[in-house]
């Protein structure tokens, strides 16, 4: 490759233009997905956008860890394609939950790697730390919550609601509050790795406590909500990594996923609040508790 061409390809502006092309295709594809006639094409257009975004990201010079990157992508293909092709139509919601979960897990791990790579965010601007830790908490919640949703729908665990009774709400508040407390301590300047591991673990327990009380019938709504969560986490990761493709793609999923969750709940005669409150086994007709959202 000629040096001139190489420097053009790896130019920051060229990369940004490719990102703009990519997220335009995401938005166009997503609007196609809302109609039965345009949906197939819409999904494929978004897929093309994704390929462009990946290629743009790989245009860095010097390029490190190429073997690991190829290996990781190959494993991703090797696991993802057969899983998606072989799953039965009836088992697709839990497969979506699983794919959503690994996405959330990826965001959480990226935040952890950022923490380690910068020496515990010691010299990192505060706003980057806040967005990164937000993505770590939400990503971990999404990963573990989605895995519970998968396990329930796949009947690996009992689909019935499971709660700690009167301790349920205090336990949820304690774990989420603890994760936020860890985030505050790191933002305030603590560089101890124990804190970010504790943050991820507390967020994980919160994710489990969030989804375990929810009955199998309500699970599609919960998967949609966790999908929106992963989108928000991805958008936050995009701000912390200064990556505009991540910001746009994550945020349109965060926003559209929230609206979609609301519409799914309405279609099932439920409200998001009553689904999250859980413990009803998806019987339906539970009293609505104010505006959802």
């Amino acid at each position: 490759m000629q040096p001139v061409l190489a420097s053009f390809l790896t130019d920051v502006d060229f990369k940004s233009v490719l990102y703009i092309v990519a997220f335009s295709l995401f938005i166009y594809g997503l609007s196609g997905l809302t109609g039965p006639k345009t949906a197939v094409q819409g999904n494929r257009i978004a897929g093309v956008g994704m390929v462009i975004a990946v290629v743009a990201t790989l245009l860095v010079d010097p390029f490190h860890n190429w073997f690991l990157i190829l290996l990781g992508l190959a494993i991703g293909f090797g696991v993802g394609v057969p899983a998606a092709r072989q799953v039965k139509m009836t088992a697709m919601p839990q497969m979506v939950a699983l794919f959503n979960g690994v996405g959330g897990g990826a965001v959480a791990l990226i935040a952890w790697a950022e923490f380690r790579g910068t020496g515990g965010f010691e010299f990192t601007p505060t706003y980057i730390v806040i967005f990164s830790l937000f993505s770590a908490i939400v990503g971990s919640v999404s990963f573990w919550g989605s895995n519970v949703a998968f396990a329930k729908l796949q009947e690996l665990i009992d689909g019935k609601p499971r709660t700690l009774g009167a301790l349920q709400l205090p336990a949820q508040l304690l774990t989420l509050g603890g994760a936020i407390a860890c985030a505050i301590a790191i933002t305030a300047g603590s560089t101890s790795e124990i804190l970010i591991v504790l943050l991820l673990v507390l967020a994980a327990i919160f994710g489990l406590l969030l989804v375990l009380p929810i009955g199998g019938a309500d699970m599609p709504v919960v998967i949609s909500l966790l999908n929106a969560f992963t989108g928000l986490a991805a958008a936050a990761a995009g701000v912390s990594l200064d990556n505009q493709a991540l910001i746009v793609a994550g945020m349109i999923v965060g926003a559209s996923g929230t609206i979609l969750t609301q519409q799914m709940a309405i279609a099932m005669n439920r409200t998001i609040t009553s689904v999250i409150a859980g413990g009803f086994g998806g019987g339906g007709g539970e009293a609505a508790a104010g505006p959802a959202g």
């Binding site: 490190h64 697709m92 996405g103 958008a235 701000v239 990594l241 999923v253």
Partner: protein, 110 residues
């Protein structure tokens, strides 16, 4: 750099409104495919693993391992997400002939 922060925040907020505007009213039959399609789009998190690995010189074993797992997770999310959405949407493409493996799914078509 503060200017980056403001630009990125503006992009963040505007993207939120775009996402809100695009999903105005979706027919019930498309709820699950749309959820799956947006799931594939947030598979873009794979970029996070890619960019940190590709630009990272001498990351150390632990960080490299974490990023490698993140990359694999992200790749599964994006690849599996698009493929499974494509399969779901096959139901809408050819209404007269039901897909071979759609047993038990009565929701197909409109």
């Amino acid at each position: 750099e503060p200017s980056n922060l403001i630009t990125n925040l503006a992009i963040l907020v505007l993207s939120g409104f775009v996402g809100y505007a695009v999903i105005s009213k979706v027919p019930n039959t498309l709820h699950t495919p749309l959820m799956s399609g947006t799931n594939a789009i947030h598979g873009i998190v794979v970029l996070g693993g890619l960019v940190l690995l590709a630009t990272g010189d001498d990351l150390g074993f632990g960080t490299t391992l974490i990023l490698f797992v993140a990359l694999v997770f992200g790749a599964i999310n994006v690849v599996g997400g698009f493929v499974v959405t494509d399969r779901m949407l096959e139901m809408f493409k050819s209404k007269p002939t039901p897909p071979k493996d759609a047993e038990g799914d009565a929701k197909g078509g409109k």
